[in-house]
């Protein structure tokens, strides 16, 4: 046994709190250790070369590196071993940074702890065995979940490279929230002009299959080999026969608040969400259609010129296989009616930012004329309140929604263009305009468009003599302010959605308390989810503007292309294995396995034992921990390896 120990300074990240030289000298006295060095940056080229040189010259057959978390550089150091001719699994990392130097201030105690960590690593590394990975085929098809701008961009990027894509969208049309917007900052180009061509391109792309009004029902499998059930909800309209003439939508006598216009107007029970919807085919709302509910009416069926209304249609469940998945499920506005100070939603002329987008939009409920919801009058004074549900820990939303400062400035510009005699007030805490051309945009709103910026929160909105009154403070003047307004637009904070959380559970990927999906590493793996082969893009990860969303979508697409460019994938050999002579067939492992990797295996004598599917196993170790007769071993973490590690800790090696 020839063990080499390398202790990293990590600049001074580790050496500031840990006596690295002392740790290295101590390591030299441990059984089996033939060399011990300190390195300024073990991950840098000189560091890697030193490790390889020692492996070759001293004939090392086990390596311990005391550096950062394995999450950061385990793969780097495994490559170092491979290049020096060693099996990569003969490496043990001691985390002297995140779990030692960064969290301790007492140098002496931190050094003692570092020595303990090295004792443990040396104890374990002596028992490690070479492991070999196996290979599995990679399915080249990609599933994109969500048909907003993120999903559209990602799907087009993957499909343009010649690979097959399936896009699943929950609502009857693609387009997402961006389709609701009027003009978009910082260039004020019309959202529809840049989005709808992409929607059409997606729908007609030879490599893309589009399933709208559909949901992902169940997901199993693993990177390169996902099996997905997709529920195509019954539209009750035959998509083959329908020409999208819209005659049915005009005749339907039932009315309900239109989702696309956020309740500002009504739609029928059979409806096309908006004029540029893709596909341009109506859907029947089964919860209100009187024909569905009580077999009365059926007017749409009578007038349809192509006989496309299909009340008998049933949901259809498709089974598809994919190699990679991109999740792009977007965002919602948080429920602002928790704000009693703004009236809990009782004032008709206190509206959300997205509702104002619809009012500004030429295809919106007012045809692009700014009219307030209560009486249809043109407002003279428009007040915008920023940070409603953002940067507000009292309402459980401590984070910044990142786009509201910019669209507030946009609203000031568009409002003054529509109504030159109007006055616009923006109540803000800080202006966050950090991206390209953003600060200039806000300046333009102030200087050219005369937006009145008032720094301070609005503490109360109420009605007096038929006008809305805003009370708050101007913190620059140090004075209370009161403003009478005709229309109040709340810049409502962005939140993750309940449906994304439900999807995350099906996909076995992690999310935070606000419903945003968690990336694998906040800086270095921003589009990877916690599960290999599943990528995330757009506002489902965090609040984002359109430029960043598109950039992240393209980034996710390029990660997918990187993955499916391989014909075969190496699987990790750090998987569980069942000793069938010890297994008693209780199958408690089957209950605890989060990845459905345990199968039943029938032996020749007819008895049933457990078997681990190594392609599915993620090496979490739950089965190994729960197995009553200790019949399951996790490679790289076997009982004797862990006991040897503990012995290292308990050996009281002299310092």
């Amino acid at each position: 046994m020839k063990i080499g120990v390398f202790i990293c300074h990590c600049g001074n990240n580790i050496s500031a709190a840990v006596g690295v030289e002392l740790v290295a000298r101590h390591a030299l006295r441990l059984p089996g250790v033939v060399c011990a060095h300190t390195i300024h940056h073990a991950c840098s080229e000189p560091g890697q070369l030193l490790i390889q040189k020692c492996i070759r010259e001293k004939g090392l057959n086990r390596v311990v590196i005391g550096a950062c978390s394995p999450r950061v550089h385990e793969a780097t150091f495994q490559r170092v071993l491979v290049q020096a001719g060693l099996n990569p699994y003969l490496l043990e990392l001691a985390n002297l940074r995140e779990q030692c130097s960064w969290v301790h201030e007492d140098r002496e105690a931190a050094t003692r702890k570092a020595i303990d960590l090295i004792d443990m690593a040396v104890g374990k590394v002596a028992r490690l065995q070479p492991l070999l990975s196996s290979k599995v085929d990679v399915n080249k098809r990609t599933l994109v979940i969500g048909g907003g701008i993120a999903g559209i961009q990602a799907a087009l990027d993957v499909a343009d490279s010649g690979h097959e894509v399936v896009l699943v969208e929950r609502t009857p049309t693609i387009g997402g929230n961006m389709a609701r917007m009027d003009k978009v900052f910082p260039t004020l180009d019309c959202s529809a002009c840049i989005l709808t061509p992409k929607m059409v391109e997606l729908a007609t792309h030879p490599n893309i299959t589009l399933h709208t009004y559909s949901e992902v029902e169940q997901v199993s499998g693993f990177v390169g080999n996902f099996k997905v059930q997709i529920r195509k909800k019954a539209r009750l309209v035959d998509m083959e026969k329908c020409t999208g003439c819209g005659a049915c939508t005009l005749k339907c006598p039932i009315k309900a608040p239109a989702e696309f216009n956020l309740g500002l107007d009504k739609r029928g029970a059979v409806y096309i969400p908006f004029p540029q919807a893709v596909p341009h085919i109506p859907v029947i709302d089964k919860s209100i259609c009187t024909y569905v509910l009580k077999k009365k009416c059926g007017l749409c069926q009578k007038i349809c010129p192509t006989d496309a209304i299909a009340f008998e249609q049933q949901d259809e469940v498709l089974e598809e296989e994919f190699g990679a998945i991109i999740v792009a499920t977007g965002y919602e506005l948080m429920d602002w009616t928790v704000y009693g100070e703004y009236g809990h939603g009782k004032y008709k002329d206190v509206i959300t930012s997205l509702q104002y987008e619809r009012i500004l939009s030429a295809s919106g409920p007012t045809g692009g004329h700014i009219r307030r919801p209560s009486d249809g009058k043109e407002p003279e004074v428009i007040a915008i309140i920023a940070c409603v549900g953002s940067r507000d820990a009292a309402h459980g939303r401590p984070y910044c929604s990142s786009v509201c400062c910019m669209y507030s400035a946009k609203y000031a510009m568009l409002t003054r263009e529509h109504l030159p005699n109007s006055r616009v007030y923006i109540f803000y805490m800080d202006i966050r305009a950090y991206s390209k051309m953003y600060e200039e945009f806000v300046q333009r709103a102030q200087e050219k468009y005369g937006a009145n910026y008032v720094r301070g929160r609005v503490s109360k909105v109420f009605e007096r003599n038929g006008r809305l009154v805003l009370q708050g403070a101007d913190t620059l003047l140090g004075q209370p302010v009161e403003l009478e307004a005709d229309l109040v637009v709340l810049a409502v904070g962005i939140t993750g959605t309940a449906s994304t959380i439900a999807l995350a559970k099906k996909l076995n990927i992690s999310h935070d308390e606000y419903g945003f999906l968690t990336e694998s590493h906040p800086k270095l793996r921003p589009v990877e989810s916690s599960t290999p082969g599943i990528f995330i893009a757009g506002a489902c990860q965090s609040p984002k503007d359109i430029p960043l969303t598109v950039a992240q979508a393209s980034s996710a697409a390029s990660k997918v292309l990187g993955l499916i460019s391989h014909d075969k994938l190496e699987t990790s050999p750090l998987v569980a294995e069942v000793n069938i002579r010890r297994c008693v067939g209780c199958f408690r492992c089957l209950d605890v396995c989060p990845f459905s990797a345990i199968e039943e295996q029938v032996l020749r004598d007819g008895s049933k034992v457990a078997r681990v599917n190594p392609a599915l196993c993620q090496g979490c170790g739950l089965c190994s921990a729960i197995c009553p007769p200790a019949a399951i071993a996790l490679s790289g973490f076997t009982d004797d390896q862990l006991i040897s590690q503990m012995e290292g800790l308990c050996s009281q090696n002299p310092v």
Partner: protein
């Protein structure tokens, strides 16, 4: 809930005697037995919590420990400042076992942390509306009233954990059950100026004037309150408000317990309605109630 400790506090002994009378009357009618804490002491009011956290806690802890000694589970304080002080101390002792231990050993104060501290509005809100309705003898359906909650009754929300801090409805519900016509309005929790009446009266007169103005706009004939200080600012100082704002308000300000008492059949005198600066007589006559 039928028997609990009663902490009147200083106001209810003097300037708000009628709040005390009417609170006791309403509780008696509703079968709630109030046991006035013997030898109760000052809650500390604003002075204590501006001086020292521990002092503020100790003053209220003394009163809570009297209730504990008598075996009274819960305590009710009609005055929101007293209520806030007691609730604050109880929460502080619940969250800080060391402080609790210290009070026990050094000051011999042992408080039951499990009992509840109620404001009178919160206490009566525990009753079923039918219980209230059963006591109604006089129809006040003609009376148009707005409920004014002030600052401390429903705030701070984390401490109080009762009703909506921005748009409360509990007092409205109580008085609706008593048969009064409650009007919606937007100044339920607006600041009345509180003790600025002493140090900076201009601000208080403006703020209280705004409240009366909004009550008038809402169509109210009277304002129901649950706080002696709110009452003093809106009633006692209404003439000063009129002088300062150039207004002509003559808006009776009644404790919500007085309104309930009227509905339950008490005479205005029994409820101390004759003690107010702005006479409620004309209003009550209109509602068919004689002042006597």
């Amino acid at each position: 809930m039928s028997k609990l400790g009663y902490f009147p506090g200083c106001s209810l002994e003097h300037s708000a005697l009628e709040y005390d009378q009417s609170s006791r009357y309403v509780c008696r009618k509703l079968g709630i037995e109030l046991v006035e804490l013997p030898d109760w002491s000052c809650c500390g009011a604003h002075a204590a919590h501006h001086t020292q956290h521990k002092l503020a806690c100790a003053l209220s802890a003394r009163n809570l420990s009297i209730a504990t000694t008598l075996g009274l589970g819960s305590v009710v304080a009609p005055c929101p400042a007293c209520y806030s002080g007691l609730k604050f101390a109880q929460t502080a002792l619940k969250n800080d076992p060391q402080l609790k231990e210290k009070f026990k050993n050094e000051l011999k104060l042992d408080c039951n942390a499990e009992g509840k501290v109620f404001s009178l509005v919160e206490l009566l809100s525990q009753l079923a509306p039918e219980t209230l309705k059963a006591q109604v003898k006089v129809d006040l359906g003609e009376l148009k009233v707005v409920a004014y909650y002030g600052c401390l009754l429903v705030r701070p929300p984390k401490l109080v954990q009762f009703d909506d801090p921005e748009n409360p409805s509990s007092m409205d519900d109580l008085l609706t059950a008593a048969g009064v016509q409650m009007l919606p309005w937007d100044y339920k929790v607006q600041c009345c100026g509180a003790v600025l009446a002493v140090s900076n009266p201009d601000i208080q007169l403006k703020l209280s004037g705004d409240i009366l103005q909004m009550a008038k706009l809402a169509g109210a004939e009277a304002v129901a309150v649950a706080c002696p200080l709110c009452h003093a600012n809106l009633d006692l100082r209404q003439a000063q408000i009129n002088k300062y704002c150039g207004s002509k308000f003559k808006l009776p300000i009644l404790y919500f317990t007085q309104v309930m008492g009227l509905a339950f059949g008490a005479s205005p005198k029994e409820l101390g309605i004759d003690k107010h600066m702005v006479a409620a007589g004309p209003l009550l006559s209109k509602a068919g109630i004689n002042q006597a």
